[in-house]
């Protein structure tokens, strides 16, 4: 089993921390292997943020993600830039209020969540990344729930722990509900326009 993942958005959304939590969950709490890489330099300026994870039950050799099994896009720029890297039939998880889809997502299994709104409902917008982590775990099953929660505990300051655990639960539940009411696998959970709207 080897999965290539990318989480991308803009600075301040906690994109890197989200990837960190998942990578840590796999490599420390699940006993698997995870390699995380980030984009540095000019392309990381201007507010864009992105991290890639290669997770496996074997040691990871090739460090970079080249054919994504899952893309988590938290901004429309991130979507536009990275959606071509998702493999045929791969998964796309989006912050649905921030990412307008187009025909580039057609061949993908798409799942949306209003993570920012849910975070605001919990009282702190800052936790949207952890909501996304919960959502990711529920939808993809790539990272086990318990391991991810342990990892959240490691990663956040104690005084924000409860809030973050709630955020994780919220994202996770949202994912479970979505899957329950959703159509059979392979079909879109979000309407993808057939033609470009631009």
């Amino acid at each position: 089993m080897l999965k290539e993942l990318r989480i991308a958005g803009f600075g301040g959304q906690g994109v890197i921390l989200a990837a960190h939590i998942l990578g840590r969950a796999v490599s420390i709490h699940e006993g698997g292997y995870a390699t995380m890489t980030q984009n540095y330099g000019p392309e990381a300026r201007g507010g864009a943020a992105s991290a890639a994870l290669v997770v496996s039950d074997q040691p990871v050799l090739y460090p970079y993600a080249v054919s994504l099994d899952v893309l988590v896009a938290m901004s429309s720029e991130a979507y536009t830039r990275f959606v071509p890297e998702v493999r045929e039939g791969g998964m796309l998880l989006v912050e649905e209020d921030l990412v307008p889809l187009d025909q580039k997502a057609q061949h993908l299994r798409v799942y949306g969540i209003p993570a920012t709104r849910l975070a605001e409902e919990l009282g702190k917008k800052m936790v949207l990344n952890v909501i996304m982590v919960g959502f990711f775990c529920a939808i993809t099953g790539i990272v086990v729930r318990d391991a991810a929660m342990k990892s959240v505990k490691d990663a956040v300051p104690a005084r924000f722990l409860d809030l973050n655990l709630k955020a994780f639960e919220r994202g996770y539940e949202y994912g479970v509900e979505l899957l329950a009411k959703g159509p059979a696998k392979g079909e879109q959970q979000m309407a993808v326009p057939q033609e470009a709207e631009v």
Partner: protein, 296 residues
């Protein structure tokens, strides 16, 4: 270069590595004279010589460290100051002196000079200013007075000379002085004073190089240089350093120009770090936190 005996006698002899005499310095060279003052200053101050280290760069003046019977470090051209910085930081108990040439300290090593002064690193820097790159055979330095001849300025130097005193003053040195090789007593007193002071201390000494600078510029021998220094120098303690520029043939302003109190690097570091600094490292329990707050 011919060699000569260093004309120093007891008790200074203990301060010199007798097994390295004769020195490489030419007859009439001013470097040995400055070393004599330095040795007397060290003795007079009862400095713990076991805890005194001397660092030089490369050049005739850069050989001083190797003749002193102290912990001697002869480093690379221009880099004595950063070496001395590391030494001092690693063992703050040490008295660290940098002794080197004008080319070494101000041309190739100019940047280090500025920043050590800015940091107020607790080292004493002695610069033998013979106004030339002597070791390599008499090329122009940043300190070569305008219009002087050197092997690389056969038509005279086109560049104005650097005023080191003003430079290190502006950068933040807490003690700045200048003497010539003629002013042996004053030099000794100033060195003694500087040895006792904390922070970045800078002493410039105009020193004759009969072999290159004097000869290239028809300035006669070492004696002629002394006569010249005596005639041209004017003692102005406390003189603002912008008024101490060395004009070719003009007045040589000497004296102690700057003597001020400023917190040195290590004192400031400790003060600002406060409880973040542990003399004794914390126990493992406190460190084993797996939180990755900092790691992300």
């Amino acid at each position: 270069m011919s060699t000569t005996e260093l004309h120093v006698h007891n008790p200074v002899e203990d301060l010199l590595r007798q097994d390295r005499v004769p020195t490489i310095w030419c007859p009439g060279c001013g470097i040995g004279t400055t070393v004599n003052s330095f040795a007397h200053a060290l003795l007079g101050q009862q400095i713990n010589l076991q805890k005194t280290a001397i660092v030089s760069g490369i050049g005739c003046s850069g050989r001083v460290s190797g003749y002193m019977n102290l912990d001697s470090f002869h480093t690379t051209h221009g880099r004595a100051i950063p070496f001395a910085t590391g030494l001092k930081l690693a063992n703050p108990e040490l008295t660290v002196i940098v002794y080197s040439g004008d080319g070494d300290l101000t041309s190739i090593g100019g940047n280090h000079l500025i920043h050590a002064a800015r940091r107020n690193m607790d080292i004493m820097v002695v610069c033998v200013n013979n106004m030339i790159y002597a070791m390599t055979g008499g090329q122009a330095a940043a300190t070569t007075p305008g219009a002087s001849n050197s092997t690389t300025t056969p038509y005279g130097a086109f560049e104005p000379e650097l005023n080191m005193a003003q430079l290190v003053d502006a950068a933040g040195a807490c003690f700045v002085a200048r003497w010539t090789a003629f002013h042996v007593m004053q030099l000794e007193r100033t060195m003694a004073k500087a040895l006792k002071k904390k922070g970045f201390r800078f002493i410039e000494i105009l020193s004759p190089c009969p072999t290159y600078y004097q000869r290239k510029n028809n300035m006669g021998d070492a004696l002629a240089a002394m006569v010249d220094y005596k005639k041209r120098s004017k003692i102005k303690n406390g003189c603002p350093t912008w008024e101490t520029a060395l004009e070719p043939g003009g007045e040589i302003v000497v004296g102690e120009f700057v003597d001020r109190e400023r917190e040195d690097y290590l004192t400031r570091m400790r003060r600002q770090l406060g409880s973040h600094y542990s003399e004794f490292p914390p126990q493992p329990e406190e460190q084993e936190s797996e939180g990755c707050e900092k790691e992300c």
